[in-house]
Every structure is written in C-alpha cells, then in structure tokens.
Amino acid sequence: MSDVNQSYPVIDDRPENEDDIVEVHEAELIDEPSTAEDEIVVEDAVVVDDEPEPADITAGFTVNADPDAALGDVPKTEFDGEAAEQIAAEEIAAEQIAAESVAGYAAEAPVEAEPAPEQAAAPVHTPDAPRAPEGPIVSLPLGKAINRGLRDALANDPKVLLMGEDIGPLGGVYRVTEGLHAEFGPQRVLDTPLAESGILGTAIGLAMRGYRPVCEIQFDGFIFPAFDQITTQLSRMRNRHEGTVTMPIVIRVPYGGHIGSIEHHSESPEAYFAHTPGLRVVAPSNSHDAYWMIQEAIASDDPVLFFEPKSRYFVKSEINLTENASPLHSARVARAGTDVTVVAYGAMVSTLLHAADLAAEEGKSLEVIDLRSVSPIDFTPVLDSVRKTGRLVVVQEAAGNASVGSEIAATVAERAFYSLEAPVIRVSGFDTPYPPSKVEGMFLPDADRVLEAVDRSLSY
C-alpha cells in the first residue's frame, strides 16, 4: 500500500481492490532503456519519413528535425539518485514529486525529479510495434484507455485532430496522448502555443473548415482563459448559424483532486459548462467508459466537454473492445441496492462503490448510479432508483452551491416528490477555493462523508 502511494500522485480514497492499481516495479524502471533523447530521435525519423505534404505548404506544422531543438520540448528528467535523496531529506512528499514530474514541470523545477513511474512502466506506443494478440477484454489504466480511444478515432477519421499544450512528443503532461504524435504526425497531433483561448478559438475555425478538433486543456484550472471562446462562441456557433455549421469539438479536461498538487490543479469546473446551452458535458469513471465515451464524444456533431478524472488515470479496469452497450449520455447502475440511492460521476463513483462495500458490512444496501453524463443528465435510472429506495444522496468533488448536485436534487424533488422518504442530501466539496493539498482529504468527499449522509437520510 505504501509503495503505491509513494509511486502515485493519487488516491486518498482507496479503491476496493488493490489489484486495480497498476503495479510499478523498480525493475521496470531500470529495464527501460530509452532516454528522452533516444525517443525524440526515433520520432523525428518517423515524422520525416512520413511527411505527406511539401514542407513549404505546411511549414508551420512540421517538427524541427534538429534533435537538439526538439529536445527543448522535453523535460529533462534524467534520473538523479542523489537529488532524489536530497528531496526526501527535505521532506517533500514523494507523491508530490511524482505529480510535478507528471505535470511536465520538471524542466522548470529547481530540482530534478525522478521520471514519473507510469512513463517508464507504460508500453511505449509506436506504430511499428506489433501488438500481442488480444481478446475482446483488456485491462488498461483509464489514461491508457483514453489514449487508445484517441488512437482509434485518429485512425478511423482523417478529419480528427488533436490540439493542445505539450501533447506532441511529450504525450501530454499525463501522457494521455503518448505515442500519437509519432504515429500520426504533426499535422494530426498539434503542439500549440501556450494559450487556451487560442486553442479553442482556432479549433472553432478548424471545425468550420470541416475538421474535428480534440483539444486538451492541460489542467482543470487552466480552462478559464478559454471560457469566452467556449461559452460565447463555441456553444452558440451552430445556433447563430441556424444549423448551417456544426462544431464537432471535444475539450478534454483532466479534472478533480486527490493528487496532492498545487493551486489550480485540482478543480472541478463542470457546472459552468453544464449551465451553458449548446454544450455537452460528460465524465467517465472507468476505463471501459473512457475508451468508448471519448470516441462517442469525437463522433458527436456537438461540442463536448470531456472531464477526465485524473485521480483515476493510473487505475486499471477492464475494457470490452468489441461491445459498448451505452449511448454517450446514458447513466448506469454501477451497483444494485435497495436502501439508499447514491449518485456520482467521474472519480467519485469509485468512492461510492467503496462506501457501498462499507455500508454492506453494516447491513445497508446502497444503489450506486454512475451518471457518466452531467449535461444532459439521464434521469431515468436515477428516478427509477429513487422510486425504489425513497432516498437519494448526490456526491461530487465540486462546490455544492448552484452545482450539478443541486440540479439533480431539484429535478428529483420535482419528479419523484411522493417517492421521497427523506430530503435529497448533497455531499460536495465545500463552497471555498480548493484548499492547500495537505488538507484536501478534509475538503473532498470520501466514503465516510458519504456514509454520514446515508445515515442522515436513513434517519428520516
């Protein structure tokens, strides 16, 4: 347990089963032969060989073939054992070091950090590497599931583009786009200037031209420079064109807490976008949904905010690669129960499943609903469940005031009033700025806070 915590910037609320966690072995770190420099040289070779257009036409999209210049994009994360020991001596928490390395800040940080474990442990995705034969069921961490979904989307539709900061050779600060730049080239996977409004505004123009941009916002707290383009432009563009243009843009946002990070890296801003007409907002909770929902979001002709629970990026679960039964905006019963309905989306679903295990030990049966989509919300399974249990607890990391949970409470009160045996109870982050991460455990709902609310509901 402690090994895992030291390896990951993740997870206060522990999953039910430790096998769900991607194990990182030191041997893998040692066995990993490639350095950042090696990787870049390989990628450049691939890019130059595959260059499909004359350089003069698309000069802005070509990568610099000079490996030294290209290296400027890559954090210098050479392993430095002494430095690491020094860090430990300075009592900087190991998970924070990993978080900073993951966040791609290592190049700017005053200390050299150990390579992020998932970077070394993950299979490097190269176009020529033959895949081992696999059945329809694979087990992947959520971040890798999104990577695979993005890869399939890029392969299936030449109009799909990825855009964002550091998503090219680096593969994104969380490595969600790892390998895609090498496989699809700089004209499909665009490292953009560091300007979020610029990313979204140019994505709108690309969509007008017939492209399907998938924009990565590096962290939840960095989406606000793009807020104007998203809310005053993107969300209304089809409407003001009276249906003559479509805006098939996906905005991927790693969101939420549990990673022990610094300010603006743990936000849950989904309600702003759920409140905005013209947008769709979804948040997967597991690898299967992540793999399928990202492809469904890309296939949608409407703009979709795709909130990725970053605390689940490195948690493995099974994906059925051949069968997806659920439409993008459907909710699902994640665990059947009879006494109290508990509802969440994204990372909080695992918290609810954990709470349900604990409740079962006390003889209480929780029905867990994974919303998957927060705009629109699929209320049918929620209302069906409430009509059965008579009790509802809504759980989210975001602040509670005027939130997604508020909307669920209001709608259930309107539509299932006579089925309710107790008031709808919200469990949420406090209505405060996200706190310093050393106290985020007190800010974020956990299984105990969920169970406290369940007990209150049952007391009526």
């Binding site: 036409i57 802005g60 999209f61 610029g198 123009g205 969509a207 009276e242 007409p277 002709d301």
Partner: protein, 378 residues
C-alpha cells in the same frame, strides 16, 4: 481646410491618392503599384459605385433605427475605402471573417444587405449562411473572437494543402477584419501568435478608425499598431485607409503572399469613424468638431471622385451611381419593413445538432403553453 495636405503625409504610410485626389504615390507605395495593373476601367468605377451605395445604405439604416425599425445600427461612414479596397483584393475562394461594421464587404461578396438589417432588427442571431454568401462569415459581436476563428480556418486551409500550391486560381487565404479597440483583446494577440507559429495563409486587416466607442487609440497602443506585427514575426504595413486604391493594392499583395504560402501579414488601415460607434452612441461627448472636420476633409469618396473626374469620368456616371444608391436604400427599407418576427421554434432549433432531452422537453412545453391560450380563447 488645407491642413491635411502633402506636408502631413506620414512617410510610413502607403498612399496613392493625395487627399485632393491626385495620383501621387508615397515612397512606401512603390512596391504596390504593380497590383493596380490588375484593375480594369470597370473596377475603377465599381470601387466608386460601392462606396457611394454603402454610404447611402448606411444613412438609410441609421434612419430605420431612429424610426424604431432596428434595435441598433452600426455606421460605416468614413471607412468605405478601407473596406471596398480590401474586399476587392480577395478572390472568390478566399474566406472573410468580419467584425461587425463591414457591411460593404459582405455586399461585395454577394450578401443581401437586408440580411444584415434582419440581424440588427432582432429577428436572427446570424442572418446568412457564409457558404452561400461568398464565404463572408457572420458578424462577431464579442470583440476579437473572430481573429482566432479566422486563424483556425487558415490552419485548416493549410492542412488541406490548399495554399502554396503555386496555382493562384485555387490557392486560398483568409482575411480577418478588426479594429483598433479589438487590437487590445488577448484573442487578437493569440491569433497573431498562432498565425505566426503555423505560418497561416492569412491577412489581418486592422481598421484604425481612431476611436473605440469613446476611447482614443492612444489608450489602446503607444506604438503604431502596424508595428506590432514585427513583434509577432509578421510583416506589418500601414496604409491610408481612406485611399481605396492603396487599400486595394496593399491587401492584394499580402493576400497573394498568403495564398502563395508565404505566411500571414498585418495591415493597419488609417481611417476614421465619421459617424457614431452605434446609434446608441453620442460622439459629441468625447471628440472635437475640429477633429471631425479634419477627417471629413480627407473623405474617401470625395477624394476618389476627384481622381475619377480628372481621368475623364463624366457627371452622368456620378449621377447614375447616386440614383442606384437611392434605389438600393429604398429597396432595403421596403423589404426590411416586410420582415416579420420569427416563429417560436427559432428559440429551440439548432441549439444542438443531435437531439437534446432538455431542449426537446422545453420546446414541447412551450408549444403546449402557447396552445393553451388558443384553447382558452376558443
């Protein structure tokens, strides 16, 4: 007044016609002269005709607003030369991203100006389909946002391999209009960053009309705006925006460069908003009559008319244009007054491309609610 004569000609500005209409290129104009060779006699007349027509339309529209027929009007009086010259430099395959004052640019691209009036009457949020109106995109009311859309569109042209092929009949480019006020918006800077970075086939056409509502350009920038281009790695050119020939030639050159794959350019057209910012504005509260008169003395239409007259264009042409302008304005007025409010469906339709339960449910509710009044009356 003679104050705005040659002695005040800035040496950094491309100018072909003096303020009194003599063809006398300024020093920086030399490299742009070959572009005039593309113009036919018909083009020369067309420039004049369009400037006069849009000014008449502009006045008629302001009157319509005063008479309660429009929610708002956005005058373009004074900026006709910058707009007409630049618009004619675009080829049919080019895309144009306007701000919200470029009425004549839309008309040159084939847009029925009544569609502009419909938007300002409050019966539509947009008013036209760009694909069916000369690739003239919708007006953008949040200042500067369209600069990024245009850059993204130009990136798409580039990814499609539709610029720099060497075939000027097929190569495409984008021109985006914005003003001195919008130049302060972060989106404009970000668009210039992206454009320079990806070397987009694109011209940034900045109309410096000296005022952002009530705030003078000195509050937006302490440096001439065209010089900002070099900071982004984009060539910048200042042109006399009240000189239609100079506006045409400069834009033609830089659009050619863009189509040829040579990257983006910034043009600052020096002009003046003779009218109010909109019909909700009162410019007498913040600018002097002396300033206004100094710019009226540099009027783009009077200057160009004097030039054409010197070339031998007769009175009958000018009179015919005046008549055509009056007819167009009267026709626009007549057809605007026939525009009726849209059906309630306009609220709900096209919010999403794919069905959305909330919108569907609310539309059905609204229909039942409206129908309930009919039932009560029955």
């Amino acid at each position: 007044m003679a104050a705005t004569n040659d002695t005040q000609r800035p040496t950094d500005t491309v100018q072909l016609l003096t303020v009194d209409g003599r063809f006398q290129p300024s020093d920086p104009a030399a490299e742009y002269l070959p572009y005039l060779e593309r113009l036919t006699e018909s083009d020369y007349r067309r420039f004049y005709r369009d400037m006069v027509v849009v000014r008449r339309f502009d006045h008629e529209s302001a009157n319509l607003q005063r008479q309660g027929q429009l929610a708002l009007w956005v005058p373009s009086h004074g900026q006709e030369a910058a707009q007409v010259g630049s618009a004619y430099a675009a080829r049919p395959q080019d895309h144009i991203f306007p701000s919200y004052r470029e009425h004549v640019v839309g008309m040159i691209r084939g847009l029925d100006p009544v569609n502009i009036l419909r938007m300002l009457r409050g019966v539509t949020l947009g008013g036209w389909n760009p694909a069916e109106n000369g690739n003239f995109h919708l007006y953008s009311l949040v200042l500067g946002t369209q600069s990024l859309h245009s850059t993204g569109y130009a990136m798409g042209i580039q990814l499609d391999g539709k610029a720099g092929t060497g075939d000027p009949e097929k190569d495409e480019a984008v021109i985006v209009y914005f003003g001195d006020g919008a130049s302060s918006q972060g989106d404009v800077s970000e668009a210039l960053v992206f454009a320079a970075s990806y070397r987009t086939p694109q011209v940034f056409f900045l109309q410096n009309n000296q005022w952002a509502i009530s705030v003078p350009v000195e509050r937006q920038s302490r440096t001439p705006l065209y010089l900002r281009g070099s900071g982004f790695g984009i060539p910048g050119t200042r042109v006399d925006g009240n000189d239609v020939l100079a506006s045409y030639a400069v834009t033609a050159k830089w659009l050619d460069e863009a189509r040829a794959g040579e990257g983006p350019a910034l043009i600052e057209a020096m002009t003046y908003r003779v009218g109010a910012h909109t019909t909700a504005d009162d410019p007498t509260k913040y600018r002097t009559d002396e300033e206004l008169q100094s710019w009226i003395a540099r009027d783009p239409i009077a200057r160009y008319r004097a030039y054409l007259a010197d070339l031998g264009v007769g009175e009958s042409f000018f009179a015919a244009v005046d008549e055509e302008a009056a007819d167009l304005a009267a026709d626009a007025r007549r057809r605007l007054l026939e525009v009726t409010p849209p059906p309630m469906d306009v609220i709900f339709d096209h919010v999403y491309a794919e069905p959305h339960p909330l919108v569907t449910e609310q539309k059905e509710w609204a229909q039942r609610y409206e129908a309930s009044f009919d039932e009560e009356r029955a």
